[in-house]
C-alpha cells in the first residue's frame, strides 16, 4: 500500500513538473501576434523586420511595454508616466497631422531619443538596424497599421531669423491660443487648467514645464518644438494648433517658447533686452495675424 502511494505521488510530481512549462507557455494572444511577424518598417535605406526584433524587444522593452505591447509590463504599475500601449497605435511624437499614424522615422527617432521625465531611456547604443527592426515590431502590435497608412509629414517652412518683432508676435500667439492655461504665463506648467489635465485614458498628466531644464519630449530642436504644437501630442490634452496657427506664426511661437527655457539662447537675450513681460490672462486676446 505504501509503495503504491509513493509510486502515485512520484507520477503526480513528475506530471506537475512537466505541466509547468506547458502551462506558462500558453499565450494565445502571442500566437495571434505571430501572424504579423512579416511587418516591415522603412527608414531611409533601412528596412526593419519585426521578426528580427523579438529578442531585442524581450531584452530591452518587455518589462515596461509588456509581452503583448499593451503597456502592461511587470513594471508598468510602478511607472509614471505609464508605458505606451502599442496596441492602440496612438503616439505622441509625430511629424504627421493629429489622429494619423506616425511615420516609421518618427518611431525610429523616438527610440533613439528616449523621453525625458519618463522611464524610456535613450536607446542610441542600439544599431540603426536594430532600431528599425524594433519599429516594425512596435507596428506589429496594432491593427491600425493593417488598415491605415501613416500620415503625410506636415510641411515645415524654413526657419526665419529670430527678431524682437517675432518674439513679441510669438507672445501674442501664446496669449491668443491660450497656451498659458496649462503651461502658465511663464511656462512653468502652473496654468489654471494644469492640475485638471488627464490623458485619453483618464490618467493625470502634467503639462510641460519649460523652465526646469529638461528636454521637450519630442525633441529639443526648433523644428521639433514647431512639430509639437502643429501636430499635437495624440493621447494627451495637448491638441494640434494647425488650424489656429499659421506656419509663420508657429515660428514666432517657437521663438517665444525659447525665452522660457533655462538654456542660454539668442531668444532669451532678446527677451531680456526687450524687458518682455509675461502675457496677461485678463488682457483682451490679441487678434490673429491678418485679422483686423
Amino acid at each position: 500500500m505504501r509503495t503504491g502511494l509513493r509510486k502515485w505521488s512520484l507520477w503526480l510530481g513528475a506530471a506537475a513538473l512537466l505541466a509547468l512549462p506547458l502551462a506558462s507557455s500558453a499565450q494565445l494572444s502571442t500566437n495571434d501576434l505571430a501572424q504579423k511577424l512579416n511587418t516591415e518598417s522603412h527608414i531611409g535605406n533601412l528596412t526593419g523586420h519585426a521578426k528580427d526584433a523579438a529578442m531585442d524587444y524581450r531584452r530591452y522593452c518587455v518589462g515596461c511595454h509588456g509581452e503583448l505591447g499593451d503597456g502592461n509590463g511587470e513594471n508598468a504599475v510602478w511607472l509614471d508616466p505609464k508605458p505606451r500601449n502599442f496596441q492602440l497605435g496612438i503616439f505622441k511624437c509625430r511629424s504627421t497631422p493629429t489622429s494619423t499614424l506616425p511615420t516609421d522615422t518618427d518611431l525610429f527617432d523616438s527610440i533613439g531619443r528616449g523621453f525625458d521625465r519618463s522611464n524610456m531611456p535613450i536607446w542610441n547604443t542600439l544599431t540603426k538596424q536594430e532600431r528599425a527592426d524594433l519599429v516594425a515590431w512596435v507596428k506589429h502590435f496594432s491593427p491600425r497599421w493593417a488598415n491605415e497608412k501613416s500620415g503625410d509629414p506636415i510641411q515645415i517652412p524654413p526657419e526665419p531669423e529670430v527678431t524682437p518683432e517675432r518674439i513679441k508676435a510669438g507672445r501674442d500667439v501664446f496669449a491668443r491660443v491660450q497656451c498659458w492655461k496649462c503651461h502658465g504665463v511663464q511656462g512653468m506648467a502652473n496654468g489654471p487648467s494644469a492640475s485638471t489635465l488627464t490623458d485619453d485614458l483618464g490618467r493625470p498628466i502634467l503639462a510641460y514645464n519649460f523652465t526646469e531644464g529638461s528636454r521637450p519630449k519630442c525633441g529639443d530642436t526648433d523644428r521639433d518644438i514647431y512639430k509639437i504644437f502643429m501636430t499635437g501630442l495624440d493621447g494627451t490634452p495637448m491638441p494640434s494648433f494647425a488650424d489656429n496657427i499659421k506656419p509663420d506664426e508657429a515660428w514666432d511661437l517657437v521663438f517665444y517658447l525659447r525665452t522660457f527655457m533655462s538654456q542660454h539662447s539668442k531668444e532669451k537675450d532678446i527677451a531680456k533686452q526687450l524687458g518682455l513681460k509675461p502675457v496677461d490672462p485678463n488682457a483682451p486676446v490679441p487678434a490673429a495675424s491678418g485679422q483686423q
Binding site: 512537466l18 509547468l20 506558462s24 507557455s25 531585442d56 511607472l79 521625465r117 547604443t125 538596424q129
Partner: protein, 482 residues
Amino acid sequence: MHVMRRLRIRSFATFATSLPALSLILISVVLTCIQPANALPAFARKYGLRCSACHESWPMLNYFGQKFKDNGYQLMNDRDAPIWQNPGYWPVTFRITPIWHRVSTGKVLVDTYAAGSTTPTGSAVQRVTTSGFDLSGLDFHTGGTLEKNFSFYVLPSSNNAASFHFETVMARLDNLFGSPWFNLKLGKFELDNLLSEKRILTLTGNGGIYQLYHFTPQGDGNIFGKMGDNQLGVEVMGHSFNDRTRYSAALLSTVDGTPGLPYGSNAYSGYFTASQAFDTGKAGVQRIGGYAFVGLAPTTWLTQTGPSGSTVIPGSGIGNKSFSREGIVGQFYFGQHVDLQVVTQHGSDSAWFGQGYGDFIDGIASGNNTTGTTLPPGSRSPTWNGVLLEPHYVYSPQLIFIGRFETIRMSQQSTPGTPQSFGNISTYTIGYRYNPFMTSRAGFAWHNEYNWLHQDGTGPSLGVNAANINTSELLLGFDFDF
C-alpha cells in the same frame, strides 16, 4: 564582485560526488524547463528595467549598460537624481553564490611515510582531488546618484568566512562642463577594462579571473601591475553621446588597491584606455580599443632592527622600478546570438622585479634592493605576451553559453638559461548561465562551469624535469542577488 577569489578557498569535504552531482543535474534539467523572466537589483529597481537591458548576461554589461555606467549610473532622462525616487528606495544589492565544486590539482608535493612510521620519511608528487558543497563570499553593492551628475559606488565585500574589505569606494562628478567627455572619479575603483573582470561570467578559482589581468612571471616580485585588481586613484573618463567613442586616463597609487599607503613613499602608475565602436548593421556594434598600464613600484625598503630582529617599515619603499602592460581589446558581434571578446597583452617588468625584488613588505620579494645591491650578470627584463578569447552564444537574454581560452607565453625570462616556457599558462573554460526568471527586482542564475588550467614547469621537480601542472575544476551553483 570578487567571487572567484573567494571560491579559491576550497573545502576538503568528503569525496561523495555521484549522488549530489546527479541531484544537481536533475535540478538543472527541471530549471531549464521553466519559462521566462530575469532580474537586476538596485539600478533595475530604480529604473524599472530588466537585468537584460544592461547586461548581455548578468553581470556582464552590454553596450547600453556600459553607457549607463559611463554616464555615472544615469539614464540621462532627467529623473536620475534621488529626489525623484520613492524615499523608501535604498540602492543596495547583495550577491552570494552557494555552489558544489570538484577541484583536482596535479603534482602536489606530499609527505610519504614508511610502513609503521608516524613521521614523514620522504616526499612524493601526486594529484589531489576534492569535492563538496561550498560558498562564495558576500558582496554588498550600493551605488547610484547622490544628485544629478554626482554618482557613487561603495562595495564592502567579504570572503566566505565573512571577513570584509572595501572592494570599491568611489565618488564621481559626471558630465563636467555639461559634457559627457569629462567625468572625474576619485577613490578605489575598477580600472576601465572594457572586458570587466568584476563582471566576469565565470566563477571557478582559475576560470573566475582573467589570468591576463593578474599575470606575473615566476619569481617576479612585482605585485603592482595587476590590472584586474581595483586600484586607488583618480580617473578622468569621457565618451561620446552614444558611447561609441570612449577614453579614460587614471593616476593611481602603486599599492594594488591596498589602503593605508603600505608600500612606496612616492610610487604612482597610470592606466590609459581608448576605444571606438562601429555600427555594422545586422552584425551589431563592433568595438576596438587599446589600453596601457604603466607605472613605478618600489624595490628598496627601510628596515628597523628591534628585539625580535629586523622588520620592514611600512610606506618606506623607494628605488622605484618600472613595469608596463599594454594591449588591444576587441568586442565583436556576429548578429544577435554570437559574440567574441578579445584582449591581448604585452607585459614587461624591470629586471629588478624579474630578479625577485619588489613587494618586500608582504614577503613576496626575495630580497631588499639596498645600497650596493647589484643584479646578477645578464639579468634582463622579463617580458611576455598573452591573448584572451571569450566567445559567447546568447540563446536568449536568459541563457548564455560561455567559452574562454587564455594563453600567456614568456618571450624573455629574466634569468638567462631559464627555459623559455617556464611559467607559461594556458587555460580553457566552458560553461553556461541560465536565468529561469527575468524581472527588474532580483537576479538568479543557475551556473555550470568547467575550467582546466595548465602551467609549464612550476610543479615540484623531485626528479621530474619541467614539472607541468594541470588543474581542473567543475562548478555548479546558484548565483543570485537582490
